[in-house]
């Protein structure tokens, strides 16, 4: 192969010089795009619903960066999504603990959005049913099960329903909904279970409530401690997706991070789930009751 030369369109500059000039100009234009976008579409405050373009530009911000944006010292200025899903039994006292009439039926329902749909349909179907609903967005079975354990002494329900979404089973190896839901991280936490000698053992996250999270976010040592725990226990944790740094201010790198998050999620899923369903030896299926049934679920 002969040397690279300029031929059909002769230029007074060498190929190397032209290439470097083009690259320099491209970098300059990319910086101008960044600046223009920052001026034209500033990020929305945490408590205000962003418009579509704002959301599009923000999806790729690091999880840590999003946390800093979402979590304010008071609930009033904290993003509503950050308030949801915490396992806090003291907040559940307002929910019915017995049926409205003695002869009625109380059903306790735990789970995610499908649990909400279920409760609405049940209440519509039969006026003699009273619902005690404890649900949060996209929660995995370990959140659902823990909610049931924490709540079971507080009501007299004859029937308990726990809703499990197959696509959330993969989150059973996580401690929080921050890492799996990269675009809309939900910081609430829950324990991770493992089966030891046929008994379930819970590993609790270091952050148990929003107050903890605020404290951890403002204390470098505590926060690093929490990250260490996520790194070792949360299958969706990835430092490129999690760590807040200067790249959070660059829109094009946020785009790259968003794409990487999609690939990463697919990669994690492929370690747990294949074309035939969940891998039977996977941690999730070992832990779940009726795991062998759930292992056949394909999505």
């Amino acid at each position: 192969m002969r040397q690279v030369t300029s031929s059909t369109l002769p230029s007074k500059y060498s190929p190397l010089w032209t290439t470097l000039s083009v690259l320099s100009w491209m970098v300059l234009w990319l910086l101008i795009f960044e600046l223009l976008l920052y001026i034209a579409v500033p990020p929305a405050p945490a408590t205000v619903k962003p418009n579509k373009i704002q959301s599009f530009l923000e999806y790729g911000r690091s999880i840590e960066g999003k946390m800093h944006k979402m979590i304010a010292p008071t609930d009033e200025f904290t993003a509503p999504i950050a308030l949801a899903g915490w396992l806090k039994p003291s907040q559940w006292h307002t929910k019915p603990s017995r049926p409205q009439k003695a002869e009625d039926l109380l059903i306790a329902i735990y789970g995610m959005s499908f649990a909400v749909h279920l409760s609405k349909v049940l209440a519509k179907l039969d006026s003699q049913i009273t619902i005690r609903l404890i649900a949060a967005p996209g929660v995995p079975p370990n959140h659902t099960y823990t909610a049931y354990l924490l709540d079971k002494q507080q009501h007299s329900a004859q029937v308990v329903a726990m809703s499990i979404l197959a696509s959330d089973v993969v989150s059973m190896t996580t401690l929080t909904n921050m890492n799996k839901y990269f675009e809309y991280p939900m910081p609430f936490t829950y324990p991770k279970y493992s089966r030891i000698e046929n008994r379930l053992k819970a590993l609790w996250p270091k952050v148990r409530n929003l107050t903890d999270l605020r404290r951890f976010l403002n204390d470098k040592t505590l926060w690093e401690d929490y990250i260490l725990q996520l790194r070792s226990q949360d299958s969706y944790y990835d430092p490129f997706l999690f760590n807040h740094n200067i790249t959070d201010y660059v829109v094009s790198i946020r785009f790259v991070r968003r794409t990487y998050a999609t690939r990463h999620a697919r990669f994690v899923l492929e370690t747990l789930h294949g074309p035939q369903g969940f891998f039977e030896h996977s941690e999730e299926i070992q832990v779940l009751p009726y795991g062998s049934v759930i292992s056949k679920v394909v999505f």
């Binding site: 192969m1 100009w25 234009w29 795009f33 599009f56 968003r258 794409t259």
Partner: protein
Amino acid sequence: MNFATFEFAVFLACVYLPYLVLPHRQQNYFLLIASYVFYGWWDWRFLSLILFSTAVNYFVGIALQQTQEVKKRRGYLIIALVTSLGILAVFKYFGFFVNSMVDFLELFGFKPDLLILSIVLPVGISFYTFQTLSYTIDVYKKEIQPTRRFFDFALYVAFFPQLVAGPIERAKNLLPQVLSPRTLTYDQFSRGAFLILLGLFKKIVIADGVAGSVNAVYAMPDPTALDITLATYLFALQIYCDFSAYSDIARGIAKLLGFELMTNFNLPYFSVNPSEFWQRWHISLSTWLRDYLYIPLGGNRHGKLNTYRNLVITMLLGGLWHGAAWNFVLWGFYQGGILCVHRFFVGRKTKTVSSSQVLGFFIYLLKVVIFFQIVCYGWLLFRANSFEQIADFTAILLFNFSLTQGISFSLPPIVALLGIPILIMLEIYQYLSRTPNFYRKWPLPLRSLLYASLLFILIAGTNNAPSDFIYFAV
């Protein structure tokens, strides 16, 4: 291996750097191995087919050179045709014809128990079959000399940038480039890099971006006329951006390697009639069909009726080449039909209108818009999932069209909606400047602005759900 993946980027880097430092002969061996790795990535068993097809056509080429006896030469040609088309028939059309026969017999109350095989369609089989056939036919017609270098011929057949979705290269163009040492110029390098960037932009930002909306409408049980219209316009964009992107990337990679592949798309949606459309759309296939099917059938040499017959047969087979399904046959018939209608009313001469005349330009624009509707109805036939869907959608479009119905599908993502006008502007500029290299005349800052814009939107679009190139299934 899909061009628009991280895996392919790694593969290309691994191939390109050693390639640059190797001498010519080693470059060819290395490219051949790389091409087989690229192809075997889908399924290594497919390699046996391409090797067999290569060997048969190589030896037939040599045999054709060694004899001048017409009967023997015809016999050799038949061997190559039967082998190449036989492989294509078995692997691509066997199941289709058996299933069609079963359906047909069932209409008359028979319950046939015919052999049904589940054969996986080897990717790119239609492309490399046509490529090898063009070589053998050209040798038979003594238009080219056969090569005695088996590995070079194998590289001509399996050259990885264009192996699975074209352009379908003629031996007279590609083979000499394989046989002779190649030179990489800076202009080739920069143009190649731009073509790759443009191709990725078309595929990832636009084709993958609009695919979700198109799929949603074509899966709806009861779409509105506006849904169908918009989804079909989007499909016109999708298939153009998907297919021309593959050609752009293939040509770009080939340029980086010092090869020149033929232009496969030349602003097809600027056509004002079907004849012009087929001179601009999938040029390597349309010229192949013209040279190896339409002209041998008689072309336009035996009167009007025979010309119409030849046009319809050529386009029917062209339609079937696109896929083993009746809607492709119908699409081919439709294309043949509109070519005949155009020929009947207009003849072969296309009046060119100067874009400098304002009125002439508006008339031209009107023709483009009208003909685009005709093309789009063809895409409806192409994209539909069944004959029932074609009938339903056509009935809705004809008898239930209303602009007030609204749309019931999600629009493509923002980045695709941003990319579409950019592509349209680029194509208009290319059309007006009459050169695909229009941007190279721009001052460097402006040229860099174009590169930076495409790159920025491409990065934004990388999160679009990736899909295989549509023509991988051909």
